[in-house]
């Protein structure tokens, strides 16, 4: 079932002048995301991936074309709150997303805006904090927590609204490796266990390889899409657009170029890589 439909979207930040900045960021872009899918959006700086992220819940509106979420157009003002309840957005810097000075009160912010009953808010807050494994920190002050913990609280604040979909705009870019792992584990868990649709924007290829489907953007258009295996096997093409592949894929690719007998579908992680090399020897 299609959950989000992006149809021929054109967008530019500066619509009035003829300067460089008036060039469209998104050029007739179309894509769709199914319910329960885990999609990763890739692309280097300026490819329009962050702009696209802000289109999914109507923070930005397309100049032409439509973004349809669950049958609702983001241009429809009356549906905007419903769309934002269904599609949560997590940004890069956790410090700039937390509203309250106590963890549980921050998580309660979303449900409070929805006008729910206090008991229901309490229940959802506890549930959301447990889902991101931060329940024991519920009375702490966010500024005393690590980056990964803060980002998980930001995610809890979104799931407390019980959304169908979470859009994450480079949620791990400001975190250390451990925080990154924590956040990625949480995202995968939410996708698998609660069947929440995930749209992850990242430039870490290892994170992208966890997705069901990759969409690679290049200067406002879709360059290629497919399963991680399909996309990362096109090493040459990704290189040409200054994108990387996961380290294991890179290693297998180079060994193959040196004459080792490895399949055309390249491995994505360490264990697959080990297997492929053993097979090749």
């Amino acid at each position: 079932m299609q959950f989000i439909n992006v149809e021929n979207v054109v967008f530019r930040y500066d619509t009035d002048s003829d300067k460089e900045s008036a060039k469209p960021v998104l050029k007739e872009l179309s894509l769709s995301v199914d319910k329960g899918e885990f999609v990763a959006l890739l692309g280097h700086n300026g490819s329009g991936k962050s702009t696209l992220a802000k289109m999914f819940n109507g923070i930005l509106l397309p100049e032409s074309g439509d973004v349809i979420v669950c049958g609702m157009n983001t241009k429809d003002d009356e549906k905007l709150l419903d769309i934002r309840r269904r599609v949560g957005l997590v940004l890069q810097n956790p410090d700039n997303q937390l509203v309250a000075s106590i963890v549980e009160e921050d998580v309660a912010f979303g449900p409070e805006n929805l006008g729910l009953d206090p008991k229901e808010i309490r229940r959802r807050v506890d549930e959301a904090l447990k889902a991101v494994d931060m329940y024991e920190y519920r009375t702490h002050a966010p500024y005393k927590l690590s980056g990964g913990q803060k980002q998980r609280i930001a995610i809890a604040g979104i799931i407390a609204m019980q959304p169908d979909c979470i859009v994450l705009d480079e949620p791990t870019a400001m975190l250390d490796p451990r925080g990154r792992q924590e956040v990625m584990d949480t995202i995968v868990k939410l996708n698998k266990e609660q069947n929440i649709t995930v749209i992850l924007i990242t430039h870490y290829m290892d994170e992208a390889s966890l997705a069901d489907r990759l969409i690679v953007l290049d200067s406002g258009k879709i360059l290629t899409q497919g399963t991680p295996k399909e996309v990362f096997s096109k090493v040459e093409m990704l290189r040409k657009h200054s994108l990387d592949v996961p380290q294991s894929t890179e290693l297998a690719y180079r060994l193959k170029a040196r004459g080792l007998n490895i399949d055309d579908t390249l491995p994505l992680n360490v264990s697959e890589c080990v297997e492929a090399i053993i097979k090749g020897l």
Binding site: K54, N57, I59, L81, R84, R85, G88, L89, L91, N93, D95, N96, Q97, L98, V99, A100, S101, I102, E104, E105, A108, F109, G110, P111, E112, N113, L114, G115, L116, D117, P118, I121, R122, V125, T139, A141, P142, Y143, A154, G157, I158, M161
Partner: protein
């Protein structure tokens, strides 16, 4: 160095004061301050001071922290009491040049400093035992009737919440910017008053720029979480008055009646003031 600010900080605990409703605490604080300034002689002043000390005992926060909050205002107390020392009329006890100290001046000085100290102590007891969010919550609900006069009570409370939330973040940022500018050879410690003020500009400009960027992102995050102002918004924590609030009101009222009685039955010490 910027982390040492204690005024307006919350200390977790389980005392009677912690359990009181923030609305009641704010009302009681206002009443206390009014009555501190209504004392007319040493008897009523002593009674109020005793009451303030009782409040401190019931707050479950160590006396050391209260003394720390007094340290911040010690110069104000000294300044006003010395000024008041020379302002009395009547028979001079000691004079020097055109200045003379009278019994009345001494009394006023004692009164003024005792009042300021009592006021700061009782105010600290509120911020020490109430979380910032409870405090803004309490203020929001107490001011709610003002929305009749088109005052945006919810917006004011939201601004306070966000300001409180960002104090530690911006302090951390200031520290970072200072270190970065020092690494580039900036000098904040030497020179006269004006050159030191000037040296702060390279800290303030990046701080402001970053604060605006943060504000923009925060607004986006809030909108993403369905924020649309105070209409139709509910709260997770419902404020409720408890037996502690009733007890506090009864005891405080007894103290206030005591102050009034002292004011009536003992002679006035102060000519000026209320």
């Amino acid at each position: 160095m910027l982390k040492e600010i204690t005024l307006g900080q919350y200390f977790p605990g389980n005392s009677v004061l912690h359990k009181m409703d923030p609305r009641m605490k704010i009302i009681m604080l206002t009443a206390f301050i009014v009555f501190i300034f209504c004392t007319k002689n040493f008897y009523s002043l002593a009674l109020m001071f005793l009451a303030v000390i009782c409040v401190i005992m019931f707050s479950g926060v160590s006396m050391r922290l209260y003394l720390k909050s007094l340290k911040a205002i010690i110069y104000i107390v000294l300044f006003t009491s010395i000024l008041n020392l020379f302002y009395g009329t009547g028979k001079p006890i000691w004079s020097f040049w055109r200045l003379s100290v009278t019994q009345e001046g001494i009394n006023t000085a004692i009164f003024v400093s005792a009042r300021i100290i009592a006021m700061v102590l009782v105010s600290s007891s509120l911020t020490y035992t109430t979380t910032p969010t409870d405090l803004t919550d309490g203020i929001e609900r107490l001011l709610k009737p003002l929305s009749v006069f088109k005052i945006q009570v919810h917006e004011i409370a939201m601004m306070m919440t966000i300001a409180l939330r960002f104090i530690p973040t911006l302090l951390e940022e200031t520290d970072k910017i200072m270190s970065a500018q020092k690494a580039r050879g900036a000098d904040f410690e030497s020179g006269n008053f004006f050159s030191r003020i000037k040296a702060l500009i390279p800290i303030l400009i990046p701080l402001f720029v970053s604060a605006f960027r943060r504000a923009y992102e925060l607004a986006m995050a809030m909108e993403s979480r369905c924020y649309h102002g105070g209409d139709g918004r509910t709260r997770m924590k419902v404020l409720k008055y408890s037996k502690y609030d009733l007890a506090a009101v009864l005891v405080s009222c007894a103290v206030f009646i005591g102050v009034i009685v002292c004011n009536i039955y003992f002679p006035k010490t102060l000519r000026i003031g209320m």
